[in-house]
Amino acid sequence: MIFSSRFIFLISFLLLFFYSGTSFSKTDSTHFSADYKIYFYNPESNINNFRSLKTAFDLYLSQFGAFQFQPFEQKKAFEKMLQSVPYGIFLLSSWQYKTLISQKNLTPVLIAVVDGKSVQKKVLIIKSLQPTFEMLKGKTVATSGDEAYSRNLLQEMFPQQPVSALSTIKLIFVPTDINALISLHYGMARAALSSESSFKKLQRINPKLSKQLSILGKSQQKLRTLVVVKQKGLALQEKIINVLLNMGKTKQGKEKLRLLGIDEWRPLNLLEHKQLIFGEEGVP
């Protein structure tokens, strides 16, 4: 099989151009701008509220300097950005941070707090009063998280189950935990992944439905969303971290944080740092 060199170059160029073009399609070219950026991706939610998030945060941050908020819809694009920019601030889940921990220049500095807690548990709720794992095989689980995150949770909840059994579970993606839980009422899913606090919310909203549901699986305590700095030490970063830290102290700032589902930020303590490095074990 012999090709002329010109032909090979032409074909190679076209192929690379085409495929690099498609894989970058969800990546924003915003890192070329002079503004300092805060990048955000949440694998725990499928809600498309990016426009509102961007407007609200840009407006809030503009009081303090040339800062911009950049939410991401896709994990791949977010991580590509994280790798390509020389510096920046990233709001990401602790689960995602652990998958990126090999990048030495990422430093977690703040953690999200909700109702005074920086941790949460995820639960798998099923509409049955005598739940067993067998009930999930080949069935659908509704989740507000992305695929990788949700599959990881299922694996963690059922460590004794073989991958072959877990992979029979189908996922259906919905925007919020409440949507996932209510889908059980309509028989659209066999089970729902949710945070423990969302399940408690449903118990308050609809006690009758809640009485038909049981917890089939529980995750370990998970640290909440982190503020992670890439290339620590720049003066502007200190400024923006202070802005984030103070958000929970004003009515206006609090309102913006609620869009992310959190009450406030605070610095990570030693135990939380340890947990990020060594895993959940041994953490209360």
Partner: protein, 303 residues
């Protein structure tokens, strides 16, 4: 020269060749009118998946002869109908191929067809009610105007779910426009908010204007199902999330292609919400308790 060959082969090996081998299942999309934006988006959501061999028939485009359409229907594994015209078209063909549909308002009125599964365009009443309770926890009484010929069953279901959540639904059957005009003040007096549902009783411009004018006079908010009402001053709009409907459709198609009979009924409800909150309107109701922790479930905030 050999080196160039190696480079070429290396680049070829980087390409996602699985696309070429995975595409073998045939989907026939019949679109009622591909010029209509919502139908166009529904179609694109399936095309974007890039794993099926798709043939598209746009019924608004006259280039298709009955013979060609029939031949496509014969060859396909699943038919996906977008909009009610497409659905009715396939029913007339009298061919036993599995069919999935979306974007049909009030699909229960359509003629029954075997081997047919669809996702409703509307949210079930219970989904909206749960969200109302979460966002505005202190509301107790919701008013609804409806045409009994159209929504009697829906009202029955809504009232039942509302009871579980601790709501009283005060529904008012409407027989004509005059009736509505006279009923509005009395209904507003009895409820904490008016819920405009998809119903012909309140569809006319005059009736809608009347409802919003009464809402202002009585200082009671309006909730609705269509973003159009936000412009008129509705406080909250909860509709079905369109991308999520497309995901449900894809899921159904996948199930059928895997040879599984979907567990759902002929028409399954949309289960994902798209919520618009009108913050400007919220300021007009200082006594209404708003759960600011619900903000992370809102897709769009009007400020």
């Amino acid at each position: 020269m050999k080196r160039y060959n190696l480079i070429f082969i290396f680049i070829l090996s980087l390409l996602p060749l699985h696309r070429a081998v995975a595409i073998h299942e045939k989907i026939l999309i019949i679109n009622s009118n591909a010029q209509i934006l919502k139908y166009q988006r529904a179609q694109q959501a399936i095309e974007k998946k890039d794993i099926y061999e798709i043939t598209l028939i746009d019924l608004a485009n006259n280039k298709w002869s009955d013979k060609t359409i029939n031949s496509h229907i014969q060859q396909t594994d699943v038919i996906y109908c977008i909009g009610s015209l497409a659905y009715q078209f396939v029913v007339q063909q009298n061919i036993d191929k599995p069919m999935v549909y979306s974007d049909i308002i009030n699909s229960r009125r359509l003629p029954y067809r075997k081997n047919t599964y669809g996702i409703a365009t509307e949210l079930p009443a219970g989904m909206s009610l749960h969200m109302y309770r979460y966002i505005f926890p202190s509301l107790k009484k919701l008013g609804i105007l409806y045409n009994p010929n159209q929504n009697q069953e829906w009202i029955h279901e809504a009232t039942k779910t509302a009871k579980d959540i601790g709501y009283d639904i005060i529904s008012q059957a409407i027989t004509d426009d005059d009736h509505l005009e006279h009923s509005l003040p009395a209904l507003f007096a009895k409820v904490d908010a008016l819920w405009i549902i998809s119903d012909s009783s309140i569809a006319s411009q005059k009736n809608v204007a009347n409802a919003f004018s009464q809402s202002k006079i009585m200082e009671k908010p309006i909730f609705s199902y269509d973003p159009f009402y936000i412009k008129l001053g509705a406080l909250l709009v909860i509709s079905a999330d369109k991308p999520a409907i497309s995901r449900q459709v894809t899921y159904l198609i996948d199930e059928i292609l895997r040879g599984q009979i979907p567990h759902q009924k002929t028409s399954a409800p949309a289960i994902s919400t798209h919520i618009i909150l009108n913050m400007k309107a919220l300021e007009q109701y200082p006594h209404l308790e708003f759960n600011s922790k619900s903000l992370d479930t809102i897709n769009h905030i009007i400020e």
